[in-house]
Symmetry: D3
Subunit: 238 residues, 6 copies
Amino acid sequence: MGLKAETREKLRSVSTATVSTALYKRGFRIQMIQGVQPLSPDQPTMVGEAFTLRYMPAREDLNKLDVFRDHGHPQRKAIEECPPGMVLVMDSRKDARAASAGAILVTRLMKRGAAGVVTDGGFRDSAEIARLGFPAYHQRPSAPTNLTLHQAIDINVPIGCGDAPVFPGDVVLGDSDGALVIPAHLADEIADEAVEMTAYEDFVTERVQGGRGIFGLYPPTDPQSLQDFATWRKKSGR
Amino acid sequence: MGLKAETREKLRSVSTATVSTALYKRGFRIQMIQGVQPLSPDQPTMVGEAFTLRYMPAREDLNKLDVFRDHGHPQRKAIEECPPGMVLVMDSRKDARAASAGAILVTRLMKRGAAGVVTDGGFRDSAEIARLGFPAYHQRPSAPTNLTLHQAIDINVPIGCGDAPVFPGDVVLGDSDGALVIPAHLADEIADEAVEMTAYEDFVTERVQGGRGIFGLYPPTDPQSLQDFATWRKKSGR
Amino acid sequence: MGLKAETREKLRSVSTATVSTALYKRGFRIQMIQGVQPLSPDQPTMVGEAFTLRYMPAREDLNKLDVFRDHGHPQRKAIEECPPGMVLVMDSRKDARAASAGAILVTRLMKRGAAGVVTDGGFRDSAEIARLGFPAYHQRPSAPTNLTLHQAIDINVPIGCGDAPVFPGDVVLGDSDGALVIPAHLADEIADEAVEMTAYEDFVTERVQGGRGIFGLYPPTDPQSLQDFATWRKKSGR
Amino acid sequence: MGLKAETREKLRSVSTATVSTALYKRGFRIQMIQGVQPLSPDQPTMVGEAFTLRYMPAREDLNKLDVFRDHGHPQRKAIEECPPGMVLVMDSRKDARAASAGAILVTRLMKRGAAGVVTDGGFRDSAEIARLGFPAYHQRPSAPTNLTLHQAIDINVPIGCGDAPVFPGDVVLGDSDGALVIPAHLADEIADEAVEMTAYEDFVTERVQGGRGIFGLYPPTDPQSLQDFATWRKKSGR
Amino acid sequence: MGLKAETREKLRSVSTATVSTALYKRGFRIQMIQGVQPLSPDQPTMVGEAFTLRYMPAREDLNKLDVFRDHGHPQRKAIEECPPGMVLVMDSRKDARAASAGAILVTRLMKRGAAGVVTDGGFRDSAEIARLGFPAYHQRPSAPTNLTLHQAIDINVPIGCGDAPVFPGDVVLGDSDGALVIPAHLADEIADEAVEMTAYEDFVTERVQGGRGIFGLYPPTDPQSLQDFATWRKKSGR
Amino acid sequence: MGLKAETREKLRSVSTATVSTALYKRGFRIQMIQGVQPLSPDQPTMVGEAFTLRYMPAREDLNKLDVFRDHGHPQRKAIEECPPGMVLVMDSRKDARAASAGAILVTRLMKRGAAGVVTDGGFRDSAEIARLGFPAYHQRPSAPTNLTLHQAIDINVPIGCGDAPVFPGDVVLGDSDGALVIPAHLADEIADEAVEMTAYEDFVTERVQGGRGIFGLYPPTDPQSLQDFATWRKKSGR
């Protein structure tokens, strides 16, 4: 069980755009985490199963600075418990007026082997996080401590993130277009199909760069296109 | 334990405006459920403890119409389990593009003795609900079935509703200005204080209607104001 | 061709909520015109085929007051050409900062026999329109002339209205929850199904008002529910 | 100087829609106070010169409850100083998450002879204000005390309200479509023109109710329309 | 007819800021395409006439993946028909939750000689597009296929894009501040004036960098400023 | 009086994230200027006292291009009067549809020795400003002249900027996460505390980079953490 190593590898080689289309073919329209962007243009592609953290609005009497002294505080617990290879996905109710986390926690997460971190709110110390080379996605930088707005309340329950449904164990893929969620039971077949689609898209891109028009080629309504593709695959070893 | 009958009675006689101020004095700034309104201008004041329902974004494959055949479906379960005297509060992520519930479920809730219902989304069959004489609050009417957008996922967990924190057992008060949440442990003292404040505000209103200015009266910086108030209380029996 | 009289009658007897569910069963999720409300709580149910008007942002040099002297001006033309029994649906790009139309034009539309009017912007003279007893839907009142913001550009082309797709000839249904769009080719079967659903919902409402719980009844997973319904239909003649 | 009695009377007889068009003819596009509505559908038309109050975000240490003990507090001062016949217009930065004022202050304002009150935020005790029969405009009801969000900082300075520019002394007109601002130096000529326009619009409405089409009539490109209007004016004494 | 080569050259040397001011002098206030940004900070200035594509909300039954097999599909047609030297401007109703197009189509557009592409939605494969060195403007990256949200419906009709009016043939100018639309009949005179204004602004910038204050210089109310400018032009050959 | 040189130096060495937490400890929750970002990732940290400019909506007749010929125009005056070492903070009502200022004015401000500039709207010539190496913060680039939307009305009054309260003389700190406002009377103690906090955070970061977990370390509930920190300070000279 869990995300297979080869599925992870396949997904690392495809784009969120391609996977979105594969999901759409199966009737999924809202798996994109809307409104989030990578902290750095140079961060690697992110692939991993979702480990979730749910925030609720922070009631003033329950969110004094000393709450972090409690080892059971869900935000800190999530950082220390997110399994290696997984992506910590935070439901911050799309509110970036206070931070979902900062550089120290994200660094710790990286050191523990997590595959990435996503919030539909914002991170503080954003420039420092951007330099880590660790896949991180948010709406925008946000300096205020989460206590002013967000109370961590639940770990690893189903959540919404950027209007997408996220169940623990779903597979999260992130690239420069953003991040999306693949239902766990579809990860393998989506990965397979996306690898195939990517090969064809790369072939198309090469042709279009060479001056070819899109009719008959994209999609391949002209049978010649598929023959050319077959030849191309052989030649390029894909 | 639970909401005392006399506290309930006291809260029924005060306004969300007055209670908001009493909460503000204790450092609470975000207890108002933002952006909701009563479905009918004539519905009675709502008082009751919060029983909560959490929605997440509805994944297409998990939200076919037949999900309602399952008696364990959290939305239907919440309707049949919300204890009499309590208010069902729904976290619909402030998204009113699909309904949080409709007239049949709200009628059932009323029949079961609930004290009211609140969503930060919208209700369908809104005119029918408005005619029930049952306290109901939402953002705006919304006809589409919840399945298009909202998947009920959790019952009686802490939630956000209209950006307010809601813990099960908190006391929800609703009037024509909207609805707010009183932390459970403060309900009694807030109720007492709000009754006192209301008496003074009624006295002030009477004086202002009679032509008196607000300086010295509201707040009572002129000692005479408090003497006049004492006389007024005696006379009016409050 | 066109909307059959009996389909029109059937739709007049059902709600947007019920029809939304029938559409959802067929895979339609975005047919509700989001964010519009009736101008009057007392206006009759609206049913009619869509006749559309498309607005674009108003360039200053092309929208002087004298443009209305041109009989070919699309806004005025739409008012004089919308066929009786049809609903004029306006794409105002969800922008209510200026009016989509006012009482004189809406009165004319009514006099010409139209079935209603919808804009995802706002109407001016809103109180006067509300008194007409004519089905009208908008986002909110808006006094400024459309020329400040909206240039009428196209008549009877496919448009978006409140994020719903509207093709000329689609059937528009409006009640107190708002307005929605039924694809033309589905109007008959949706009307039939909605009438059946409404009968069952009315039966359920009666039972729930009488104290019955929803499990087994709504949906009718208990076979007894369907038997009771059959009896009820006979008795109530539905 | 100031608003002439006859100009006030004329404006009382015309609509914000008509005045918006008169302003548009003179190049004014943003005088409508966007997003505000009357608290009661039955409140009288509002006409008066603007007396302004500016709010800024409320810093916590400067907005304890005892600030109202200070007679110089700008909110309370504005209430006691707004001259009779004027409209108190509040710049609440379009933020209705806390109240701009409540029933006691609005009652006092009414008693002092003010012509109305407008905020681009919200009022608390909204149902009570609605019953006063006093022209009041806001975005939506809002129970929390202004101290949680709004600090009154300036009286009678130029402000923005609902994205409209408001200079002290400008004339504010409100009806069921909302409220707008007439630059002070144009009040007389706008009033004159709007009265004329209203006569013509009433004539047109009567004709359209009688079955007449709009081409040639609205606007009167057919000379017969103006002759008919002349006859109508004589007959109806307008 | 069409955009003159020398006007194109002139516009390439001026900024959207300068042209905005020239438009404002002629009464144009809304020609800026609001809310769009270049995909790459390094892409060249964009100048070309508008060729438009209009999207409407995508009805589910009309937007299966196989629609792209139709050579007449307006999105694909627009890509293959946009004339060289023109800018493809897409009305995506300011909704970036799904892509307006992706790298393959944008590459094809570039290869066909188009001058640039603008959407008020988002592009997928955004990093790949950014590397093309082709002027492209959008709101934000967006991976989901357009079919989930946008149905291409019309080619080369007047549209709104980012709240700006765009008529086919209008001239679109884009730089790092964004993109704007010059009404076709004004392109030549705006280009001339903007070149002159740019010369003066460059002169001013040099002076201000040298320590000069702005009074008398910007605008040149001090006659000496214009004399100095004359000298500077001679010296710098502008 | 005024900002002490050593406080300025201390603040230059700390982050907005750290200062936000120090403010939160004292009850300040809204001092972050929400929704603004640096124009360049490379611009230096910004520290200086606030000098303010207030914009209101621009009435058309008062905002012709020739208003800038008036040396008393508040925008131009603010640029020429903002004292060296101070930050010009503009209240643009969070509206970035027109520019708050452009490169010439910002260059002049820099030349006059200002410490930075902030608007909650947008700047035109944004790429040019970004190259100045001068701390500048806005919402997004915006080419249209301020006259289309913003009328400068007041200099150095208390304002709101990005929903934060800004009083003249408050200390503004900006880094890559954005900009915030320190109440003037707290600048010294906040600076001291933030320097201490930063030392501890740097120590924590080093440990976490070395593999240490956060429990007991952040916050230092394990006494050993404080001992290790003491050692680290000695060694690192902090």
